[in-house]
């Protein structure tokens, strides 16, 4: 069984479009995250979300918005896509209150903006 899953795996779209990436975890974790990995493989936290508390990386444009319908899901909505949004986006989850804070990552979604 997949612990953290993301859909779609690949997403190709035009500039200006709005798109969503879905993430689901079946680990019973209470904190979920979105990361962006750029072309140089640098991994940067975008959001973390725990029990309706959203921590936003201040450098993330407000075109990006996470939406959590329940504890097992954290979707990423992106409005007015730009060329610079092209990257691999990873969802992850963990137990927030445990000091053993391994994060479990999804397989990634490769977004290409044309």
């Amino acid at each position: 069984d997949t612990a953290v899953s993301q859909t779609p795996k690949y997403l190709v779209t035009q500039m200006g479009n709005d798109k969503s990436i879905k993430c689901e975890q079946n680990l019973g974790h209470d904190t979920m995250y979105w990361y962006k990995q750029d072309s140089k493989k640098f991994l940067k936290i975008m959001f973390s979300y725990n029990n309706k508390e959203l921590i936003i990386n201040e450098t993330v444009p407000n075109r990006f918005s996470p939406k959590s319908p329940d504890k097992a899901h954290l979707n990423l909505h992106i409005n007015s896509l730009e060329l610079g949004d092209s990257a691999v986006y990873f969802c992850a989850s963990s137990k927030r209150d445990s000091k053993y804070n391994e994060q479990f990552f999804g397989p990634g979604t490769r977004l290409t903006v044309l």
Partner: protein, 117 residues
């Protein structure tokens, strides 16, 4: 602010030789340290962590890491490298204090390990 440095973009090692991937960190308070591995076109996989206790921690696939508080380092090691170890390795740090944002991990830029047959 917490930060992680991985000084080597790439490490090349011959199969069967020992390998070391370097990591240094900066945090306020006690650090929680992690190593993750990323194989091509895959997500990150957890390898090992240091929380407290013995400075030498053992993890998956025969990897181990040594925590050195005085040098603020957490180098990843393996006694005998395999070709299948070739991947991108990320060091990450989390501060031990509680508070908003404390559960976030800060990653290094990654080190590409190539094991040569």
């Amino acid at each position: 602010a917490q930060s992680v440095a991985q000084p080597e973009d790439q490490v090349n090692v011959a199969e069967g030789n020992p390998l070391t991937v370097k990591c240094t960190y900066s945090v306020s308070g006690n650090p929680y340290l992690f190593w993750y591995v990323q194989y091509p076109n895959r997500g990150l996989q957890f390898l090992l962590k240091y929380i407290t206790g013995d400075n030498l921690v053992k993890g998956s696939y025969g990897f181990e890491a040594e925590f050195n508080k005085s040098q603020t380092s957490f180098h990843l090691k393996k006694p005998s490298a395999l070709v299948s170890d070739s991947a991108l390795y990320f060091c990450a740090v989390r501060a031990s204090y509680s508070g908003a944002g404390s559960y976030q991990l800060t990653f290094g830029k990654g080190t590409k390990l190539s094991v040569i047959p």
